[in-house]
């Protein structure tokens, strides 16, 4: 913050009158601090508790994951130095670093690793990680740095999950000694920043952890201002109250990008906007499902709502990830959609009626995208009854089979692994999609047990093509994240959209 602003001057004058220290001094010394305008608070400071993709960068500042991803999303060592997945994927041997300490000075060992990925889950604490690590039968501790995870069924994506949602090592001794409630009030991890202050729904103050085992963050103090309203985030960056912000409307990115002093970006990420579909009701008819898909002009949606930056997708994977099929295209063809509907005796004069659910405000332009799709469908002979659902109720509705034929949804997969894209979306035993057809379901379930990486990826590539050709899913767009920052504040861009406080630096 090199510019001396009018407000800073007024603050200085008033503070001087009050006999306080001059904020000018702190303003000029502020190249060792940065403020980020962030849209959401953490759900709680237990990083294993709830899977919240937007909170992942905040957790990654305070806690460490066993494995990490580089900016191109390649899996890299982190707390785990070496790992070996058994050929049958029934066990994984890991070797931890021996120079890692928690923020209270305690050494991180395999006891903490075992506690995080086995003991806590088995103790009955309601954690989202209970699902991702449900296959863990035991973790055999061989030394403070060596352990072997034993699985009750093949776990070929265990390494990927070590770098995914919720997989953060927490301190066994501290939690057991202080109790969970005290841990939530004063959490400690092994991450590059200590949590210095936390005010619910307002701000998170991070201070550099000087004994961090890895590269030290360049900025000593990072303040996360929780600003939920997108317009307020725009105003905050524009007025200099924050140095960087994310997830602001695309049109504002264009505008701010033209102002001097700001850098504004629209970054495609590993998040897919899709239509989840049911295999029954009016969508029991494959012709109707395929017609619904062919009738959607994805490029027009991208242009209208994401300034053309969101890549139209034909499969449930984003470009650059292992499951992506660059040569496969599911074309926009309203004539073909009409022909398919005609085969089932539907058309504009005799439309097929379906239900269509969407959230409103869960991800950028969700409701508007749904309304546009309703209009596109109407032209070919599909009459959709659009209903808005609360995201909090999604799983309950799905569990009770109360979601309609189509649901607009956004699916995040920071790992980029196809299991967590199509594997989860098409697995009838999982609660992440209303598709419950056994034909595709059996193909998915078989892939969950394939230990060989190349065979597994090839299997998912086949599955993705098959699922789209059968109308089991309708991928729409690759989601984007918008970032606006002061031009001299640099950060490392990750393919999954992470903006990590530890990568920030002033130039």
């Amino acid at each position: 913050m090199s510019k001396l602003q009018r407000r800073t001057f007024l603050q200085a004058a008033a503070a001087a009158a009050l006999g306080a220290g001059s904020p000018i001094v702190s303003a000029l010394a502020a190249n060792d601090s940065a403020t980020i305008g962030w849209p959401n608070d953490v759900p709680s400071w237990d990083p294993n508790q709830r899977f919240t993709p937007d909170a992942q960068p905040l957790f990654k500042a305070v806690f460490d994951q066993p494995l990490d991803q580089d900016p191109q999303l390649k899996l890299i060592p982190h707390l785990i130095k070496n790992w070996t997945l058994a050929p049958d994927a029934m066990s994984m041997a890991v070797e931890l670093r021996d120079d890692v300490t928690f923020h209270n000075g305690d050494k991180m060992t395999t006891d903490d690793f075992r506690y995080t990925f086995f003991e806590r889950i088995k103790s009955g604490v309601k954690l989202d990680t209970a699902n991702s690590w449900k296959k863990v039968e035991d973790i055999v501790v061989e030394s403070p740095t060596k352990a072997t995870m034993k699985f009750n069924s093949p776990a070929p994506t265990a390494p990927q999950w070590m770098a995914f949602l919720g997989s953060f090592v927490v301190p066994k001794k501290y939690i057991e000694g202080q109790g969970l409630d005290n841990f939530l009030k004063k959490p400690i991890g092994t991450g590059p920043y200590k949590l210095a202050e936390y005010e619910l729904n307002s701000r998170i103050v991070l201070e550099r952890y000087d004994n961090y085992w890895g590269p030290k963050p360049k900025i000593a103090r990072v303040t996360i201002e929780i600003i939920k309203d997108p317009s307020a985030r725009v105003a905050a960056i524009q007025s200099g109250q924050v140095d960087c912000t994310v997830n602001i409307p695309v049109r504002e990115v264009d505008r701010l990008g033209k102002e001097s002093g700001f850098a504004a970006e629209i970054n495609p990420i590993t998040r897919v906007i899709l239509l989840q579909v049911r295999a029954d009701l009016a969508f029991a008819d494959e012709n109707v499902r395929l017609a619904a898909h062919h009738a959607i002009d994805k490029a027009a949606l991208s242009k209208a709502f994401y300034g053309g930056a969101a890549v139209p997708l034909s499969v449930l994977a984003t470009p650059g990830t292992p499951g992506y099929l660059p040569d496969f295209s599911f074309k926009y063809d309203p004539s073909l959609a009409k022909d398919l509907l005609a085969k089932s005796k539907f058309g504009p004069a005799n439309p097929v009626k379906i239900g269509f659910a969407t959230t409103n405000g869960q991800f950028p332009s969700d409701y508007d995208i749904a309304r546009a799709i309703v209009q596109m469908w109407k032209k070919v002979g599909i009459e959709a009854d659009l209903q808005v659902i609360e995201y909090a109720k999604y799983f309950e509705l799905n569990r009770a089979a109360k979601l309609p034929e189509a649901t607009l949804y956004s699916w995040d997969n920071a790992t980029g692994d196809p299991e967590i894209f199509s594997g989860y979306q098409l697995n009838p035993k999982m609660p992440f999609s209303p598709w419950k057809d056994q034909d595709i379901g059996n193909r998915v379930l078989a892939l969950f047990g394939v230990a060989d990486y190349n065979k597994r990826i090839a299997g998912y590539r086949d599955l993705e093509r098959y699922a789209v050709q059968n109308g089991a899913t309708m991928p729409l767009l690759q989601s984007v994240v918008t970032v606006v920052r002061k031009r001299n504040l640099k950060y490392t861009k990750y393919g999954n959209g992470w903006l990590l406080p530890q990568t920030l630096q002033w130039s």
Binding site: R7, Q49, R50, L200, S202, E225, I226, S231, S239
Partner: protein
């Protein structure tokens, strides 16, 4: 007078008990009728039907509604409002942490509304019969027609962005520490001997408090003016004039004292509305109060938290009304003898 006020407060507090019971029962039943399942929502998405049933049983949700209410009431009377589904903390602790922030904001807004309302009301009355009366009247109607969230956005844009005079995110500047003694930041900063924090907190309070106060002030203005009109038709005003008392003295010593009573009653009633106005204002200004918490709770269908916040709103409004009624007794000699 003290005995009368004390009697009134005691009576009001006693009357508050059945009101609170009724409100809590109504709130409890209304929330239970919502098509959401707190048991399912408190578990990970992958929970099985059997796990959800077990959780429902553990939470007592499979019991008859009156029994559920009595269990909840018993726990609430012991200070346990349940655990927030979304935030995984005690709902009571979350409310306790955020309530002082909202009270501080609402009181600041009330002070602003009072100053603007009384000042504006006197001005409107002063301009009666002049050519400027219509202009002033239209001005007050304009103020009245702008809701607080719109004021919030207008003030943010003008004073925060265009003029860059005041901060509009959070409660304090990022580089300052947050003292936590009573939860009231202005008081805490002084107790901690940090004038810089006090100044920063005050600076951050100005825009949200003005947004709320501006929306609330026209009601006070118009009621005060109309009360003054009524009072000026009373015989004692005419008699004062005949005695040669100056117009200024008539207004300030005789008329205003009586005209302020209905205004005060209205202010008490309106405080509840002002308090609920903090919901949107706190979100716009990222103010970490109970309103902000309530918006999240509603979005997440976090029933225990909604219930705790709803009941707290009710208690605050009842207390404010009791306070206003007590003031009414202090200011109105007639009521002291009844």
């Amino acid at each position: 007078m003290i005995a009368t006020v004390a009697k009134l407060i005691a009576f009001r507090l006693l009357a508050a008990v059945p009101i609170l019971l009724a409100v809590s029962a109504l709130l409890f039943c209304a929330l239970r009728l919502l098509p959401v399942d707190p048991a399912a929502m408190s578990l990970p998405p992958t929970a099985t039907i059997a796990e959800i049933d077990a959780q429902r049983h553990a939470m007592g949700l499979d019991r008859p509604l009156p029994e559920q209410y009595l269990i909840w009431l018993d726990a609430a009377l012991h200070g346990n409002f349940g655990r927030s589904i979304a935030l995984h903390s005690q709902a009571g602790s979350l409310v306790a942490a955020t309530l002082p922030v909202t009270i501080e904001l609402a009181l600041a807004a009330m002070v602003i509304a009072g100053i603007l309302g009384f000042g504006g009301g006197l001005l409107l009355f002063h301009l009666r019969g002049t050519v400027l009366e219509t202009v002033a009247d239209l001005g007050s109607i304009l103020l009245l027609s702008i809701p607080e969230f719109l004021w919030g956005l207008i003030l943010l844009f003008v004073f925060g962005v265009v003029l860059d005079l005041l901060p509009f995110t959070g409660q304090i500047s990022p580089n300052l520490p947050l003292p936590d003694i009573t939860g009231f930041l202005l008081i805490d900063s002084l107790l901690a001997g940090r004038p810089d924090v006090f100044f920063s907190a005050l600076e951050h309070l100005i825009l949200p408090a003005f947004a709320l106060g501006l929306a609330f002030s026209p009601t006070i203005m118009r009621v005060l003016r109309s009360s003054l009109f009524d009072v000026y038709h009373e015989d004692y005003i005419q008699q004062a004039r005949l005695r040669g008392v100056s117009e200024r003295r008539i207004l300030l010593r005789h008329a205003l004292k009586n005209a302020v009573l209905p205004t005060l009653t209205l202010a008490g009633v309106q405080f509840g509305i002002l308090f609920s106005g903090t919901l949107l204002i706190e979100v716009i200004y990222s103010y970490p109060g109970m309103g902000n918490l309530m918006v999240d709770a509603v979005r997440n269908a976090d029933l225990p938290l909604i219930q705790a916040i709803g009941l707290t709103y009710c208690i605050v409004v009842l207390l404010i009304n009791t306070l206003v009624d007590s003031l009414y007794v202090v200011l109105n000699p007639k009521l002291r003898t009844q």
